[in-house]
Amino acid sequence: MTPATPDVDFVALIDAYHAGDEQARDRLVERYMPLVRSLAARYAGRGEPQEDLVQVASIGLLLSIERFDTSREVQFTTYAVPTIVGEIQRHFRDRAWAVHVPRRMKELSVRLTRAVESKTAELGRAPTIAELAEATGAEEDEVVEALHSSEAYSTRSLSQPLGRDADDETMQDVLGVEDAGFGEVEDSVLVEAGLEALDERERRIVELRFFEGLTQSEIAARIGISQMHVSRLLRRALHVMRGRLEEAMKEELP
């Protein structure tokens, strides 16, 4: 570790603040705000307003100033950076828990993913909720909740408008060309645009599920992946198609 360079002015300010001089703290805050903004900027684009992140990071700076011991042979920034980053990360963690899923549910979801795959291999079919509860040691209600919170269990309606307007065409409009074969359905410009957005495997899964009527487990067995993976791919495929169809419809607009 590089020995700390004595910063007489900094040490004087810290000592003054610890002796009760609020103005000394304000000067320290002013001095290190560029560091705060820089660290907050690293977390930009993750769904939180930048000003909120700067505020949270500022709390980390204040804590650092409060706790820093000038007798330690470390640079203030060496001490402050992990404290500030820790505050930002705690903010994201708390927000995620508040808005989404408790940690224990996330942990159970991870265990469930493994359990679904192992039980499917063992049983030759997708397991029931009771079987998953037994395999993970969780209560059945917890399994329901964890599955609900996981991507594999989150459903995406096929009748959501493909565009932004409520009157826009939906996935089921696209899929519901009565008695049309897959080839005929493909003739639709919009459907073609959507299907072309998929890779070969996703396209095949959509075809097997909605045109040939195979179950997720049957598709899994045929393609050689897990049922939960089929579920994820199916939903991802629908999501991709929806995005591509939306783009196609925009291009169709005068």
Binding site: R125, I129, A130, Y153, T155, L158, G176, G213, T215
Partner: protein, 127 residues
């Protein structure tokens, strides 16, 4: 093979406001009800997808009613009210048909309820 439905039936009924922010309500309820059946999770997933698709249809009134009932043939789900003629839409049928065993529309005057049936064995409470 199906087990007999429990005495007095096992019907769960929930009413919830129509609207996207309440769509997790039927998912959680049906997930819980489905746990009372010998129903693989991929079929639970399909049922939820079917219900989600119905929830996007034009509803009548601001409240939706969901009933889930254990029957000798399996799990019966009723959802409504909708404008009659929903299943005349071939697109909706195309989506629902592969997801559940049967789909039916029960009309009641100006309203309609959609019935979905999933074949499954009811799991009686353990002693």
């Amino acid at each position: 093979m199906t087990a007999p439905a429990p005495p007095g039936g096992a019907r769960t009924t929930v009413e919830f406001p129509a609207g996207e922010q309440y769509r997790s309500v039927p998912r959680l309820v049906l997930g819980g009800v489905a746990s009372r059946f010998e129903l693989p999770i991929d079929r639970v997933d399909d049922l939820l997808l079917a219900v989600e698709s119905l929830l996007m249809q034009e509803t009548v009134g601001g409240t939706l009613r969901l009933e889930a009932e254990a029957t000798p043939s399996g799990l019966l789900v009723r959802l409504g009210s909708f404008r009659p003629g929903q299943l005349d839409d071939p697109g909706l049928r195309r989506v629902l048909t592969p997801l559940v065993e049967s789909v039916d529309e029960q009309r009641d005057g100006d309203f309609a309820r959609i019935e979905l049936v999933v074949s499954a064995t009811y799991r009686p409470d353990e002693a």
